[in-house]
Amino acid sequence: MATNNTPSYTLRYFDAIGLGESIRLLLTAANVEWTEEHPEWPQEKPNQPHGRLPVLIEKSTDGSPDFVICESGNIERYLARTYGFLPTDLKKAALQEQVRDLMADVASAFVGFLQAISEEDKKARLSSFDEILEKYIAVQTKNIKDNGNTGRLFGDNLSYADIATYSFFKNLAIGFVKFKADITEHVKPKLTPEIIKLISTVETDPKLAKIVLKSGNLSAVVSA
């Protein structure tokens, strides 16, 4: 429940899943006041602290200046730490952070594939993307199994890792369709029952109910 002492937030990002979705879900799960701005792009580029999005603005209620940060992973970790979605135990937190960082590598491999020009290059880069994606799915599936197969990666409650993983698969199965029309069909066969259960567990979490389906129904897409 937002009180007078709770900061409020503005997320500046594009109107897309991309690197904004985890931030939206963290802000929603934290139950704080927040709004979103979609700057005109590239016109607003010079007006951003570092020329890029997302940007998070934290406004205090005590008159102190706004706290502004950028870099999606940094924003996510800041919110996750502040609102209890990352453990205070540094080892446990690191185990969650590393899966998010691996996800970013998978996304980079996909971007690398999109940039390929020759047929030979496209084939090679798609293969690299598949390799790292399959590794990522195997790592995450093991995490879910080791955690008692409850549809959660770590512990018993909605975690940063759960949210980041959900957002990642949402990009892969829905968000990236505009870049590669058959990406959904390409990715679906690789999903394990454990991953599908995680997707469903996150999507039905009451803390996220306000917005989670706004960008699409991922459970429906991966089960179809």
């Binding site: 570092h50 020329g51 706290f67 940060i69 950028c70 870099e71 992973g73 940094n74 970790r77 800041y78 730490r81 502040t82 540094l90 080892k91 690191a94 185990l95 952070e97 590393q98 960082d101 691996l102 590598d105 980079s108 690398g112 940039q115 020009i117 390799e131 790292i132 590794k135 990522y136 790592v139």
Partner: protein, 222 residues
């Protein structure tokens, strides 16, 4: 936390790449640590994510923590050694600088794979823009700090180490990926940043590692 009760193994290739910041952090942590250079790709499947670097933290009781992903390893070491502030806001400011630097390095590696001339021009312009903004940000942080030998406060921090490794990568090793990397780096550094790099290089805690290396500050002053 008693540093003496833990020892560390850093598994990486024998190059600067994504390992240098980890090496400097381990040196600054004054802990027992060694480096392993796995056979590659023979040892790929032995790694948790099939990738390097990997950090293994061994406790005195025999338990192990195995971490992957360079940025996670760097932040973990930064936190346990007290080089990253405990305050989330102060930490976010340092982490953001480090993430931006990592983006620039990643952009250079992508540039190296681009073949079409027009595309190369566009990617290079983007790298130049990011690097210009980054250097400006470094100067802003330094100007706001009373002590000019450190980015924050008056002691060696995560940000100092991260910045040093970034300029080392761009100024001494990126040339094989980006032909004009050294020239571009020299254009962006200011005397104040060179002074900062020289101060970091002179840190006793980093001497165990940097005494074996060429001076970055000297190289960028040429």
């Amino acid at each position: 936390m008693s540093a003496q009760s833990f020892s560390y193994i850093l598994r990486y290739f024998d190059l600067i790449g994504r390992g240098e910041t980890c090496r400097l952090l381990l040196a600054a942590g004054e802990v027992d640590w060694v480096e392993e250079h796995p056979e590659w790709p023979q040892d790929k499947e032995k790694q948790p994510f099939g990738r390097l670097p990997v950090l293994i933290e061994k406790s005195a009781d025999g338990s192990e923590l195995v971490l992957s992903e360079s940025s996670t390893i760097e932040r973990y070491l930064g936190r346990i050694f007290g080089l990253l502030p405990a305050d989330p806001r102060a930490s976010a400011i340092q982490e953001q600088m480090c993430d931006r630097q990592a983006d620039i390095i990643a952009a250079c590696l992508v540039y190296a794979q681009v073949t079409a001339e027009e595309d190369k021009k566009m990617y290079l312009a983007n790298i130049d823009d990011l690097f210009t903004r980054m250097a400006k940000s470094h100067m802003e942080i330094l100007s706001a700090n009373n002590c000019k030998s450190h980015l924050f406060g008056d002691k060696l921090s995560f940000a100092d180490i991260s910045l040093y490794a970034f300029y080392k990568m761009m100024g001494m090793y990126m040339g094989c990926y980006l032909k004009d990397a050294v020239k571009i780096t020299k254009e962006k550094v200011t005397p104040e940043i060179v002074h900062l790099l020289a101060s970091i290089e002179a840190e006793p805690l980093l001497a165990s590692h940097l005494s074996k290396c060429e001076s970055l500050a000297a190289r960028l002053s040429q």
